[in-house]
Symmetry: C2
Subunit: 364 residues, 2 copies
């Protein structure tokens, strides 16, 4: 368990997640003088309420540009974050960002169906890319995004903030160090009640899918890193829709099971009609869980020996700082495109199993 | 939430579970003078460590007889519980219990495959019957048991102690009174690590099935009474065996999904290889859960508004007192054979779905 700051620093180092939200006295990271500049593409809720405020806390990266299709949003951002006129783009002139030396990294925060296009355009413009999850709406798109960034010699990172969150790092550690023996079972569920019927996530053309793509992906992630292996087979069940009008394009609720090569299993659930939010691991000699697990804050952790004592951090700041540091040090980041692609392969297999009445299917 | 003794009494009355472990001053139940006499059939761990000690705390029923196939066990019981010689039977001479006025109720605590035979023999001997869960190893046997008790004019109760447990009564109340709105989702899992390979529960001829029959049945129960409806369809998945030798006769781990007529769903898991023990309900405006949920003690309850404040009771004493009181008052008990039969129909559908590669099947 993480009991204090020193434990957390050790844990961060162990996990390779050297993302800190406060400077260390007398210690300078290599390249600390230089901060990377980031531009946010898409000024929706996540960019506005999470990413931009987090970028006021980051050590290695700072907000310098915005890309938006809604000109009316611009004045607020200019005033609040002192964005210079020359660092403001729209979706049409975005490619000119290639000539802008202020911007090293582009963060794609658009609806899922636009991730591939803007990741590839950003890579072609010579920028490193952070792309929100899910990385794409298909495996094929994900592969093209990875290839584009590779060809451009730029990093691709997925918006998997929880890889930098101390609660989830503790789940990974408890599994990896076999503190309670080998993990045999994970129960991981993530769902919420989707309100506004007009929101893009309810429309397949923009989202590529329903709660599985949106939040179920966190349960997939949780199962993978809490078991510490890659699943090989999947079964999945679609539940009947209680609101067929609202969810006419996408699944409303589903369950799925992941089968891991060592016999470990994960049973998961995701939905747009109710709140559920948990990552539970049963191991040979005990259990450990986060409940709630996947939010921006409010995590609680417990093990069969008692509560986890962990101090929350700003996940978004830690995530962007972690990626920035990897770029500055010219080493791979912790959440590369390949990590996103593994989830896309699992998601495609889950949708295929649901379509085949729950048939057990090989992943990938 | 249950905050004090008065709340618990009100709750017990509401739920029809008027099973109290301490007498109420100045208040006499109808028939309180008369205590029923019970005989335990099968002196294994549950009878020895749970039921017999609980019968020292009951108000309406007391231990007067034993039925065992192992004569070496008799002296300890005679000494500890003052069982008279004339109230001791073996499996061959058991039917003579018909002539024994000391014994009103027989509690069948034998391996599952013997439940039907001894329930029917006890009914024919004119005794009321409490039968441990699962009530039988098939729907057909369960129907025969109900018919036999009906024909004999005697009550049949299943060993569903949790219907008398204040934590579970609170889950039922929160659902029934829609304290957090309508329940949309239940996650219910129950499993443990089965040790001794020689134990009867690992052998299909005695158990009729694996963890589903043994502990998964609690997750089925939990889903049913927390949603407050009967499921109509089921899907189920068997997981690959990690110890095919130990579990050659039975499933090792499985998941299943119950589909309720109002669109509510339950996702469940059961296993013999690791500990998992939880009943979680997500409703429209909040959630409530027991974790751990199904043990003889150690329950913890929480809701989205905070911890449940509930004082644990002796479940077995409450259960047997509750059934005894129903018998004394000549009204149906809370856990009749029909309640057990509903679970057997679900269990048979789960096994059928697993055998049909997870096909969605109608229950019953």
């Amino acid at each position: 368990m993480i009991h204090n700051r020193r434990d957390f620093l050790q844990l961060s180092a162990l996990a390779g997640a050297a993302a800190l939200t406060t400077p260390l006295a007398g210690f300078a990271w290599p390249g600390q003088q230089k901060k990377l500049g980031i531009a946010l593409i898409g000024l929706g809720g996540y960019a506005t309420n999470q990413l931009a405020p987090a970028l006021l806390q980051t050590q290695h990266i700072e907000l310098r540009g915005i890309v938006t299709g809604t000109p009316s949003k611009i004045p607020v951002w200019v005033e609040k974050y002192k964005i210079p006129e020359k660092n403001i783009y729209n979706y049409d002139n975005f490619d000119k960002i290639a000539d802008n030396k202020d911007i090293d990294v582009v963060y794609v925060v658009l609806p899922n169906s636009m991730h591939a296009e803007f990741t590839i355009r950003a890579a072609k413009a010579g920028k490193h890319v952070i792309c929100e999850k899910p990385m794409s709406v298909s495996v094929k798109e994900g592969e093209a995004m990875i290839a584009a960034c590779k060809k451009a010699g730029r990093q691709l990172a997925i918006g998997y903030r929880l890889h930098y969150d101390p609660f989830h790092l503790e789940m990974m550690r408890l599994s990896r160090e076999k503190v309670f023996g080998e993990v045999k079972l994970v129960e991981a569920s993530d769902g919420f009640r989707a309100g506004d019927p007009a929101q893009w996530r309810l429309h397949h053309a923009l989202s590529g899918g329903g709660p599985l793509m949106d939040v179920g992906i966190y349960a997939i992630q949780g199962a993978r890193y809490t078991i510490g292996l890659e699943p090989t087979y999947v079964t999945a069940q679609a539940f009947p829709k209680t609101d067929p009008q609202k969810f006419k394009d996408i699944e409303e609720s589903l369950a799925w099971q992941l089968y891991f090569p060592n016999g470990a299993i994960a049973n998961s659930f995701s939905t747009y009609i109710t709140n559920v939010n948990r990552l539970y691991a049963a191991a040979e000699k005990g259990w450990f869980e986060l409940n709630r697990a996947y939010g921006y804050k409010g995590q609680e952790g417990r093990t069969s020996q008692g509560p986890m004592q962990i101090t929350p951090i700003n996940q978004q700041a830690a995530h962007m700082d972690g990626v920035a540091k990897a770029i500055l040090e010219n080493r791979p980041n912790n959440v590369p495109g390949e990590e996103g692609l593994r989830d896309m392969k699992i998601i495609e297999a889950i949708y295929a199993s649901m379509a085949a009445a729950g048939k057990k299917l090989k992943i990938g």
